[in-house]
């Protein structure tokens, strides 16, 4: 399988600061759902900005589908990678939902008469079709983030990076966004690579693979179910286990492996005999 993103020997530090990343390597396969976790300030957002060329690496290489990221290939790379940011308000460019989705299409110089159909289609995908004419300040945070996702989808990216896109949302908004992600992944399968940066372990558990960033290195690189059983090690990295793992570890008889909420409930219900 091809790599969607390949990072080799990356070194980066903000000016006048100690380097955040030093000889950092990461490969993300096409079609993978990857979660990136790490404590505050570990450099997750910085990594996302480096991949999108919003920041320039001090040394090392970043390749998108085999094409090395340089000034010349920047536009091409951005055509393949979309990003949803944390703050719902600060990425809403248009005055209405439809205008916001249109913004990226306008930049791509899509002919005006083709836009309404495309906008309608992506709003449908994220369940916001009835809100096309609404202004951003009349929407909830979760709705705004789904619009942000639609704006990215309209540009038909192969990779979508979400940087704590659900961090500012209430539980209902969060689960609506996550459900939308699951639906998209189901629809596009291997055509869509998802990179989800998050502090929420339940969100991280949706991925095929979780990496933990610590001190500019990959501290862990595992399937979520293998990661979450390592309670103590996670705590040392400033991370929490998902609630299900905490619960099953508190129960002495529980099997020593990661159980989803449903699996745990099923196991608990076998106990009464």
């Amino acid at each position: 399988m091809t790599n969607a993103i390949t990072i080799n020997n990356l070194t980066y530090g903000y000016p006048d600061q100690d380097p955040l990343f030093h000889d950092f390597d990461l490969e993300v396969q096409e079609g993978q759902w990857l979660s990136i976790v790490g404590h505050n300030g570990s450099g997750k957002s910085t990594l996302a900005k480096l991949i999108l060329g919003l920041l320039e690496a001090n040394s090392g290489t970043i390749s998108i589908f085999g094409q090395q990221l340089t000034i010349e290939t920047l536009a091409e790379a951005r055509a393949q990678v979309g990003m949803v940011f944390q703050n719902p308000d600060n990425q809403f460019v248009g005055a209405t939902v439809a205008d916001d989705v249109a913004f990226g299409l306008e930049n791509r110089q899509v002919p005006s008469e083709e836009m309404p159909k495309m906008i309608e289609a992506v709003l449908q995908q994220v369940g916001m079709a009835d809100f096309a004419d609404r202004e951003p300040h009349t929407l909830s945070g979760g709705q705004k983030q789904r619009v942000a996702l639609a704006s990215v989808l309209a540009l038909k990216p192969k990779v979508i990076i979400l940087d704590e896109a659900t961090a500012m949302l209430d539980p209902a908004g969060k689960s609506a966004v996550l459900q939308t992600l699951k639906d998209l992944k189901n629809q596009y399968q291997d055509q869509l690579t998802l990179i989800v940066i998050t502090h929420d372990m339940a969100e991280a558990a949706l991925a095929d693979r979780v990496v933990v960033i610590n001190d500019g290195q990959l501290a862990f690189d595992q399937r979520p179910q293998d990661l979450f059983v390592q309670g103590q090690a996670l705590k040392e990295l400033g991370l929490d286990q998902p609630f299900e793992s905490q619960l099953s570890q508190a129960l002495p008889k529980a099997p020593n492996q990661y159980l989803t909420k449903q699996e745990l409930a099923a196991w608990l219900s076998t106990l009464k005999d």
């Binding site: 900005k49 999108l52 951005r78 940011f85 836009m115 300040h137």
Partner: protein, 266 residues
């Protein structure tokens, strides 16, 4: 702040909503310009008639316009007093101490009030029936000729539409910061003037820093979605003239002719 009618857009389906924003802006500009020259009662009557027709075509209630005028009431009363008491001439209608009201003063005051009200209501009719985005694209379209002398029209229009988009957000944020500072004991309504002005500073700084952070985030979000320059873009909202615009243009043309005629006779 939300009950301010002037400058607000209220969605609707009346006739004026279907007129191209460029037409509406041009008509408003022409109307305001002509009013400057109005100096007879017939001229004001004609202008009022034109306004009344426009207001009817917005399909909004008169009560709404009354709410639009109310906040500027004091400004109107103040200008009326100035005109009333400080215009000289004869005959004198009323005299008490240094205050005196003359007939020219009275007429002038009424003219000023009328002019003011007409202009405010006409602009309200424009913004009430035209979404801010449409106003921004209309301005861009109208200013297009200035591109020839290297005015960055597309950039300006984009700036305007983004600024308009952030107005409600900044208002909400001001409210939030104000409440946060109030809960820490700040008061904007008591104390000496100096003390009150000082209290504004802790309000402005968080707002300013917040706006700066927003601007940086927004720049990233725009860049990631392929924004390179305001010029090489297509447009989602395409303006196009239709039958309504022809009708509006003819109606306004008739008004302009009659109005100039009235001024001429005088």
């Amino acid at each position: 702040m939300n009950n301010l009618v002037i400058g607000q857009f209220i969605p609707g389906k009346a006739w004026l909503y279907r007129v191209d924003p460029r037409t509406k802006i041009l008509v408003t500009v022409v109307y305001v310009f002509l009013l400057i020259f109005a100096n007879t009662w017939p001229a004001y009557a004609l202008a009022t008639l034109f306004l009344a027709l426009t207001l009817v075509l917005t399909g909004q209630s008169l009560e709404l316009y009354w709410r639009g005028i109310k906040p500027v009431m004091w400004l109107i009363i103040f200008t009326v007093c100035l005109q009333l008491f400080f215009t000289g001439g004869t005959p004198v209608l009323f005299h008490w101490q240094f205050l005196k009201i003359t007939l020219p003063g009275l007429i002038n005051a009424l003219y000023v009030v009328l002019r003011f009200v007409l202009i405010v209501l006409m602009s309200t009719a424009l913004t009430l029936t035209t979404p801010p985005t449409a106003i921004a694209s209309a301005i861009e379209s109208l200013l297009k000729p200035l591109k020839a002398i290297k005015v960055p029209v597309a950039e300006l229009a984009l700036m305007l539409s983004i600024a308009l988009r952030f107005v409600p957000l900044l208002m909400l944020e001001t409210d939030k910061v104000m409440k946060a500072q109030k809960s820490r004991g700040m008061s904007l309504s008591t104390g000496s003037l100096i003390k009150r002005s000082k209290a504004v500073l802790p309000l402005l700084i968080p707002l300013f820093i917040g706006a700066l952070q927003r601007a940086l985030d927004l720049a990233n979000a725009m860049e990631v979605r392929g924004f390179e320059s305001a010029d090489n873009r297509t447009r989602y909202r395409v303006l196009s003239f239709s039958k309504q615009d022809l009708v509006a243009a003819l109606g306004t043309g008739l008004f302009v002719l009659l109005f100039i005629g009235l001024l001429w006779i005088n």
